[in-house]
Symmetry: none
Subunit: 220 residues, 2 copies
DNA sequence: ACGGCGTTGTAATCGCTATGTCATCGCCGG
DNA sequence: CCGGCGATGACATAGCGATTACAACGCCGT
């Protein structure tokens, strides 16, 4: 499955790293920003399903950042982390346009549940993709071809999902790397090529994924 | 496909060369300027998708250069490299009109991700070019003539793309060399002529590309 | 804790073709 | 008839994508 993409904006690097590790364990692609400015940039430049935002930030404060994100064309959901358990703090956060809040200290499992809930609300993508005799069901993480189920590994599913939602457009290997892996992926890896190979094997004949010489793949 | 074009302005030649090599490996056409004045010149004379700009430059300083670029009719995006990790430095850079920043030291993979992200935001060239019975679909990297698909190699597609977007104007061989290859291309090569030849073959009859005696090609 | 299985990434190799070089050809103008 | 420019054909090769083999890792059941 194309992984969920989450941005964490948190100045406390211990917390930030713990969160990102925890989310990555769930198969989520995580980017981290250690201050508000960096967070704003990443939020503008990339596309995330959910942005986890510490309200108490140095430099650009969390509130201002939240407003900027909400007022941008971005479709990301915002989960705000508030320090105290004060009701008023929470209310303020929501008034700024956050979609949910969580007050510290919190259970990681609760954060995870909320992230998932928000991602589900993400206006993004149709739940089932179809292309030729291929069917990909996002919710069930399952793929079938000509009514035969095809078991796929996670990265394989991710690549297939990106290609299918591209609707025939060419997707470069770099784009696949960015969307299925995360920003720290080694740009010189051939992991994409290998995964495409395995995917093709599992999908069988006739070939579904076409190679466009000069850098790209597509499903016609 | 006409490759992405990037200009690196960086006085430290070790850094500059490492970056340019890395980006070239990704199929990007890279020009390099080792000081601000040279950078400004290239930025004015050529067209780049992204300009990677070291803030700390001898001669013309990075800030001034950034302003000049932003205030010029150029549509390039600017990615500024800042030395320290100071938040204020970053903010200043963005205030000057840079589109993104990155503080040293940085991961090459992160630089690459940001360059791609910025290029994506580059003002949208029309997705489909048409000229007579020729159709070039940028997203699909495909060309068809009279509804028959014509498979093209990378340079061939690049040349065709430049010629078609010229809308009937004459394009010299040198211009093609600059835009489809990069500045390190041997100026005495006849690669352009050869590629035009092969392109003409694949496109078939009647001829599409016209030769203007005295140095140029066009699609009427 | 241990061992097996499935997944993923790395690195080396293979085969092909897109691309550049060079030599030659043909046309046009002086 | 010759000089120059662009077109063309033949050839060599660099580079890219496909493929293989292997190593590392994580997950699960015992």
């Amino acid at each position: 499955m194309e992984p969920m993409r989450v941005l964490i904006v948190e100045d406390n690097s211990v917390v930030a790293d713990a969160l990102s590790e925890g989310l990555r364990d769930q198969g989520i692609a995580v980017d981290v920003a250690y201050d508000g400015t960096a967070g704003l940039n990443k939020a503008m430049v990339n596309t995330y399903d959910v942005i986890v935002l510490d309200r108490d930030l140095p430099g650009l404060c969390g509130d201002a950042l939240c407003e900027q994100i909400v007022n941008s064309p971005s479709t990301s959901r915002v989960l705000m982390l508030t320090a105290a358990g004060l009701v008023e703090e929470r209310v303020e956060g929501l008034n700024l346009g956050a979609d949910d809040y969580l007050s510290k200290p919190f259970d990681f499992s609760e954060l995870l549940a909320r992230v998932h809930a928000l991602a589900r609300r993400s206006p993004s993508t149709p739940p089932v993709l179809t292309r030729g005799d291929l069917i990909l069901d996002r919710a069930r993480r399952s793929v079938s071809r000509a009514n035969h189920p095809v078991p796929l590994a996670r990265k394989e599913l991710g690549i297939l999902e990106v290609l299918m939602s591209a609707e025939g457009a060419v997707v470069t290997a770099e784009q696949l790397l960015e969307r299925v892996w995360d920003e720290h992926a080694d740009p010189f890896t051939n992991a994409v090529a290998v995964t495409i190979l395995r995917l093709r094997r599992k999908l069988g004949e006739p070939p579904v994924i076409e190679t466009i010489a000069g850098g790209g793949y597509r499903i016609p």
